[in-house]
C-alpha cells in the first residue's frame, strides 16, 4: 500500500492521512477511466482514518460513499474488495446507503465470482434495513449452507448482525445454521489453529467481531464458530433448547463424539454451558461431566475455558475443582506467555473464594514471581498474597516493591487491592504494609491507582487501631502534595472524624490549615469542615480557642461556600446545643426520598406559600447511608470478569422503589387529584411463582384514598387477555368505599407485566382503615393466530382466584431512623400507651421480632432486630405514621421474654406525636 512505506515519517504521514486531504483526493473516483490502484490506495486511507478513530460528518461520509459506489463499474477484484470494506465502514454515517443494494446483490448471486460473494454478503447486512431482510432470505439460506467456508461464514456473521433488527426472519434460518455447524469441511486436514494468538478476543464477546474478509483456511472450521454463535442467538431465550444444543454438540460424556472441531466454537459452547449452569442447577451433573471431558481436549484454549468455568462456578465439588486447578497448573509452566497469563489470572480470581485449594500450586506460582512478563508476575504475586501464610508476606512485599514501577496503573490497582485484603487477614503485618502503601502513594500514578491506595489506608484506619495514627500522618503528608481534589476532600473528611480522637489532635491542624491557605475552593471548604470538627469534638479549651481563630480567618475567604461554612461552625461554637443537631447527629435524610419530595415541591406552584415540610421524609443512619453508597469492595471482584458484577446489581432499595412509584402514579390521570402518595408497601405475591398468570399487589396510601396496584403478568405466549380487571370483595367491614377499577385493555406475554389499579376512598380519613379483601382476576381470554399475530375474534370470559390482600397498620407507617434514647425521652409528654401481650405461638424471640417488624413496617434501631439472648430482649422501633394531617413520629419499645412453656411475652410501649398513631400501633399487635 502506498502510504505504508511513508508511515515512518510522522509529519508526512499526518499530512498524508489527513481527513481533508483524503476528501479532496476523492476526485479520483470520478476520473475516467478509473485507476484501480489509485482508488484502492485512497480507500485504504479512508478506512485507515476510520479505524484510528477519525470521524466524518454525515455530508463528508455521504460524498465519499457515493464516490465509492461509482467504482462498481470497474471489474478489478482487489478494488472491489476494498470498495466493500469502505462501504461497510461508511454505511454507519452516510445517508442513502441503500443505493448500493442492487449492485451488492448482483455480486451475491451464486454465479458471481467466489471472491466477491463473502464481501458482498458482509456489506449487504450493513446496508439493508430490517424490512428488506425478508427479500434476501433466499440468498442467505443458500449462502449459509454454501460449501465454501468463507461464504458460509460471511452469511452467518451477517445474520448475526441482522438478528437484533429482524428477529422473526433470521429465526427461520436456524435449520441452515444447524446444518452449517454439522457441516463436514470438504478440504479436511487436521491441525486446528491452536496458536497462542487466540487470546486477543478474551474479553467475552469474541463472537461478535466480523471486520473484514478473513482468509481463513477451511481447515480451521471457523464456520462452526459463527454458526454456533447464530444458533445461540436464535435460541437464547429458550433454556431447554440451549441445554439440548449443548448436549448434542458436546459429544457425550468424554467429549469425543463432538462434531465441533473449531476450538473457538467449543469455547463458546463452554460459555453457554456456564450460563445454563448458572440459571439451572438441575443440569449441573451433566454439564460438569461435559466440562470434565473438555479439560482433556487437545486444544489449550478449550482446556483453559473449561477450567475457568469450573473455577468460577458456585458450589463446585472439590475433586472437580482440583482437576481444573491441575490443568491450570500445567499451563503455569508453559513456554507461552498468554497461557501463563490466563492461568495465573484465573487462579488469582479463584484465590478469593478458595485460597486453600489454590495453595496447592503455590510452588509453581513462586517460580513465576520473577517472570519476564510483568502481568504474569503481578497475578502470581497477588495470588500468593491471598493464599500464602503470614511468614511469606514480607518477602512477597519486597518482591512487589521491586517492580511496582514497571507495571501499568491497572495492575498496580490489583496489587494494592490484594494488599488491602491482606491487611485485614494479617493485622499484625500492618507495619510493613503501611510502609508499602505510603511508599506507593508517593509514586507517580493516575487517579484510580491513588484512590485504591487511599481506600486501602482508609480501611486500615477503620479496622486496625494500632496503625491509625501512623496511617493518618501518611495521609496528611499525601494531601500536602495531592493533585486530586476528590481524594483531598475525602481525606480531610476522614481526618475530621478520626483526628479529634487521636492522642495528639493538634499535630493534624497544621496540615489541614495549610489546605485552607494553599488549595482550591472545594478543598478549602472541606478543610474548614474538618477543622471545625476538631474544635467541636475536643474538650481542650486551648485547642478550641485556636480553631476559633483559624475559622475567623476563613471568614475573609473569596469563596462563598468556604465563608458560609466558617460562619456556620463559628456559630455552632457559641451555641453548643446546635452542634448536637448539625455535627453529632447520627441520622441523615434518605436522599432519594428527599430528592423526590423536593422535586414535587418545586414543581407544585401552589406549595410555595408554605415552607417545605421535611418531617415526612424517612431518615436512615449514617452507617446505612454509607452501606448504600459503598461500591462493592474491589477485593471480591479482583480479576473476575465484568459480567459477574452486572449480575450482582442489587434490587432497588425501598426508597428508590418509592420514588419510582410516585413517578408512575403521577402518570395515571384518574389518580392525579389524590395528591401525594404517603406510602407504598412492598409488592406481595398473590399467586404461586410458576402459574399461568402472575399477580403481585402494591398498596399505595393517599390522604383520603387507598389505591391497590396489581401487577399482572400473562405468561402464555399465544393468548391475549383483554379487559383485565381485579375485583376486590371486602371480607370484613373496612370503612372503605370502592371508587373505580382501571382495567387493562389488553395484555399479552410480551407486554407483561401490566398494571390494574383499584381505588378506594377512606370513609373517615382520620381513622386507619384496615381489613382483608378477596381478589379475583377477571379477563376475556383470546387465542392469537400464529400466522397473523392478531388475536381471534371470539374469546371467552374467565376468572382466576387470587390470594387475599390485607390492609393493615403497616401500610400507614414508613420506617425511619432516629436516635432512640433521646427521641424516646422527648416524646415522654406525647401520646403513649403500654400493653402486655402473650404470644404463645411464637417459637423464639427472633421470630417474634421479625413478625412485629413485618406487621408494623417500622425501622429496627441499633441492631435490636437480632436478639442476643434467647430469653430476654428489647426491640426498639421507629416509624413515621402518615395520615390526613401530615406525618407524625411513632416509637415502639418491645420488651420481650421467652420461655418454652409460655412462648413469648411482650410488653409493648408506644410513644407517638399523635394519639391515633399510638392506638394504631397497639391495635395492630393486638388485632
Amino acid at each position: 500500500m502506498a502510504f505504508a512505506s511513508k508511515k515512518d515519517d510522522e509529519g508526512l504521514s499526518a499530512y498524508y492521512n489527513n481527513k481533508t486531504t483524503v476528501i479532496q483526493e476523492a476526485r479520483v473516483f470520478n476520473d475516467s477511466p478509473i485507476s484501480p490502484r489509485k482508488c484502492r490506495a485512497l480507500l485504504t486511507r479512508v478506512v485507515h482514518l476510520l479505524y484510528i478513530g477519525e470521524s466524518f460528518s454525515t455530508q463528508e461520509a455521504t460524498t465519499l460513499f457515493f464516490g465509492t459506489t461509482k467504482l462498481f463499474q470497474h471489474k478489478d477484484s482487489a478494488l472491489r474488495q476494498m470498495v466493500y470494506l469502505a462501504i461497510k465502514e461508511l454505511a454507519g454515517t452516510a445517508e442513502d446507503v441503500i443505493m448500493v443494494t442492487s449492485s451488492i446483490m448482483k455480486d451475491m448471486q451464486p454465479n458471481s465470482e467466489v471472491i466477491y460473494r463473502p464481501n458482498s454478503i458482509r456489506a449487504l447486512c450493513r446496508i439493508i434495513d430490517p424490512s428488506m431482510a425478508q427479500g434476501v432470505e433466499r440468498f442467505f439460506k443458500a449462502a449459509i449452507v454454501d460449501k465454501t467456508p468463507s461464504i458460509s461464514s460471511a452469511a452467518l456473521v451477517s445474520s448475526y448482525h441482522l438478528f437484533p433488527n429482524a428477529k422473526d426472519v433470521v429465526k427461520r434460518w436456524a435449520n441452515e445454521a444447524q446444518e452449517a455447524v454439522n457441516a463436514k469441511s470438504s478440504t479436511s486436514l487436521f491441525g486446528s489453529s491452536t496458536g497462542g494468538g487466540y487470546l486477543s478476543g478474551w474479553g467475552g464477546s469474541a463472537g461478535q467481531q466480523s471486520s473484514g474478509y478473513q482468509a481463513v483456511p477451511s481447515a480451521s472450521y471457523i464456520t462452526q464458530y459463527h454458526a454456533l454463535g447464530l444458533l445461540y442467538l436464535i435460541r437464547q431465550q429458550d433454556r431447554m433448547a440451549v441445554t439440548k444444543m449443548i448436549q448434542q454438540l458436546g459429544g457425550g460424556k468424554t467429549g469425543a463424539g463432538t462434531t465441533l472441531k473449531n476450538p473457538m466454537a467449543l469455547c463458546m459452547l463452554i460459555r453457554y454451558a456456564a450460563k445454563v449452569l448458572e440459571e439451572d442447577p438441575n443440569v449441573q451433573k451433566q454439564m460438569l461431566d461435559l466440562l470434565d471431558g473438555w479439560l482433556k481436549h487437545k486444544s489449550d484454549m478449550v482446556n483453559l475455558e473449561a477450567a475457568r468455568v469450573i473455577c468460577e462456578m458456585k458450589n463446585v465439588p472439590t475433586f472437580q475443582l482440583m482437576r481444573a486447578i491441575g490443568v491450570l497448573q500445567l499451563f503455569l509452566s508453559s513456554p507461552k506467555a498468554t497461557l501463563r497469563f490466563a492461568a495465573t489470572r484465573t487462579l488469582a480470581a479463584l484465590a478469593v473464594t478458595h485460597p486453600s485449594n489454590v495453595a496447592s500450586v503455590n510452588v509453581d506460582l513462586e517460580n513465576l514471581i520473577s517472570d519476564s512478563n510483568r502481568s504474569v508476575a503481578t497475578y502470581a504475586i497477588t495470588t500468593l498474597l491471598k493464599t500464602g501464610n503470614e511468614a511469606s508476606v514480607d518477602r512477597l512485599m519486597k518482591q512487589i516493591s521491586g517492580f511496582m514501577n514497571d507495571i501499568s496503573d491497572e495492575f498496580k490497582v490489583i496489587v494494592v487491592d490484594a494488599i488491602r485484603s491482606l491487611c485485614l487477614k494479617f493485622p499484625d503485618k500492618h507495619v510493613s504494609m503501611l510502609s508499602f502503601l505510603s511508599g506507593v502513594l508517593r509514586d507517580e500514578g493516575g487517579y484510580d491507582f491513588k484512590r485504591a491506595v487511599v481506600e486501602a489506608i482508609f480501611e486500615m484506619v477503620k479496622y486496625i487501631s494500632a496503625c491509625r495514627e501512623q496511617a493518618l500522618s501518611h495521609l496528611c503528608e499525601f494531601i500536602e502534595d495531592c493533585e486530586f481534589t476528590k481524594l483531598s476532600v475525602r481525606i480531610l473528611h476522614l481526618l475530621g472524624i478520626e483526628g479529634p480522637k487521636a492522642p495528639q489532635p493538634t499535630k493534624y491542624i497544621r496540615f489541614i490549615y495549610n489546605r485552607v491557605v494553599l488549595e482550591n475552593a472545594t478543598v478549602r471548604a472541606a478543610a474548614v469542615g474538618s477543622l471545625a470538627k476538631f474544635g467541636l469534638n475536643s474538650n481542650d479549651a486551648g485547642l478550641k480557642k485556636s480553631i476559633d481563630t483559624l475559622l475567623n480567618r476563613c471568614l475573609d475567604d473569596v469563596d462563598d461556600e468556604v465563608r458560609d461554612r466558617a460562619a456556620m461552625y463559628l456559630r455552632l461554637f457559641r451555641e453548643s446545643f446546635l452542634a448536637d443537631t448539625y455535627v453529632k447527629e447520627e441520622s441523615v435524610f434518605s436522599l432519594d426520598a428527599l430528592e423526590s419530595k423536593l422535586v414535587s415541591y418545586v414543581n407544585d406552584p401552589s406549595a410555595s406559600i408554605v415552607p417545605f415540610d421535611a418531617s415526612s421524609i424517612p431518615k436512615i443512619s449514617r452507617a446505612q447511608a454509607a452501606a448504600e453508597v459503598a461500591r462493592p469492595s474491589s477485593l471480591e471482584t479482583v480479576g473476575v470478569p465484568a459480567k459477574k458484577e452486572a449480575a450482582a446489581t442489587p434490587q432497588l432499595s425501598a426508597v428508590e422503589a418509592q420514588s419510582a412509584y410516585i413517578q408512575q402514579l403521577k402518570e395515571v390521570p384518574e389518580l392525579a387529584t389524590y395528591g401525594e402518595v404517603l406510602g407504598s408497601s412492598k409488592p406481595a405475591q398473590l399467586t404461586e411463582s410458576e402459574t399461568e398468570y402472575q399477580v403481585s399487589c402494591v398498596k399505595h396510601t393517599f390522604a383520603e384514598h387507598i389505591v391497590f396496584q396489581f401487577n399482572v403478568s400473562n405468561t402464555i405466549p399465544d393468548t391475549v387477555l383483554e379487559q383485565v380487571a381485579v375485583v376486590m370483595q371486602p371480607l370484613t367491614e373496612s370503612n372503605l368505599t370502592e371508587d373505580f377499577i382501571i382495567p387493562l385493555p389488553s395484555l399479552s406475554s410480551t407486554t407483561s407485566p401490566g398494571i390494574v389499579y383499584v381505588s378506594f376512598t377512606r370513609d373517615s380519613p382520620e381513622e386507619y382503615a384496615s381489613g382483608s379483601f378477596q381478589c379475583v382476576l377477571k379477563f376475556i381470554s383470546k387465542e392469537v393466530d400464529p400466522a397473523t399475530g392478531e388475536p381471534e375474534e371470539d374469546g371467552y370470559e374467565d376468572e382466576y382466584q387470587l390470594e387475599e390482600v390485607e390492609l393493615g397498620a403497616g401500610d400507614y407507617i414508613i420506617p425511619t431512623y432516629v436516635t432512640f434514647s433521646s427521641e424516646w425521652d422527648r416524646l415522654r409528654g406525647g401520646a403513649s400507651a403500654t400493653e402486655t401481650f402473650s404470644l404463645s405461638a411464637m417459637e423464639s424471640l427472633k421470630a417474634a421480632c421479625d413478625s412485629i417488624i413485618e406487621i408494623l413496617n417500622m425501622q429496627a434501631l441499633g441492631g435490636t432486630e437480632d436478639p442476643s439472648s434467647t430469653s430476654v430482649h428489647t426491640l426498639q422501633l421507629a416509624g413515621l405514621v402518615v395520615g390526613a394531617g401530615g406525618a407524625g413520629k411513632a416509637l415502639v419499645r418491645c420488651r420481650m421474654t421467652y420461655s418454652k412453656a409460655q412462648g413469648v411475652t411482650l410488653e409493648l410501649s408506644v410513644r407517638a406525636e399523635k394519639e391515633e398513631a399510638c392506638s394504631l400501633v397497639v391495635s395492630a399487635i393486638g388485632g
Partner: protein, 181 residues
Amino acid sequence: MPWYTSLFQWFSGLFFSKTADISIVGLQASGKTSFVNVIGSGQWSEEVVPTVGFNVRNVRKGNVTLKIWDIAGQPKFRSTWERYCSGVDVIIFIVDSHDKEKFDAAQFELHQLLSHQTLAAVPLLVLGNKNDLEDHASVNELIKALELDKIRNRAVSCYSCSMKSQHNLDIVLQWLTKHSH
C-alpha cells in the same frame, strides 16, 4: 472468435473508438432497466425486478462504448439522481408515454433535476417509452406535458419509442453516438 478479430477490434478501438457516460433516470416502471437490457443484450422481458439503488453496465455498440448508469426511480431514490448524473455525457430521461397521469410528477422531477448547477449544459434525451400500447402520448404531447420547450442552454431531444417492439431504438443509438466522444 479467432484471435485476429479481437486483435483487429483492439486496433480499431485504439483509433476510432468513442465512449459515452450515460445516466438513465425517470419515474419507477418507465422502462429504464428494460432499456439497458435491450440495448445491452437485445433481450426484452415482461418481468423486471424494480431496481434498488442503481446498476452500472458497459455496452459496446459498433465503435462506441457506452457506460450506462441505471438509477432507480422510486421516490426514495430520486434525491440521489443528481449524484449519478453529474459528470456524465448524456442524461436520458425515460417516461411511460402511456401513463398520462404521471406526466405531472415526471415533469416536476425532470425540472428539479435539471435545476442543479452541476448538471448545466449536459445534453438531455427524453424517451417516451411504450409506444406499442394504444393511446400513448405523441412526441408533441410529451414536449408539452414535460415543458421541454422551456429548457434552455442544453441540447434536448425527444423521441417516442418502445423497448418491447424495439421501435425507434436505432435513432436513439444514433443520437447517443453523436454525443459520445
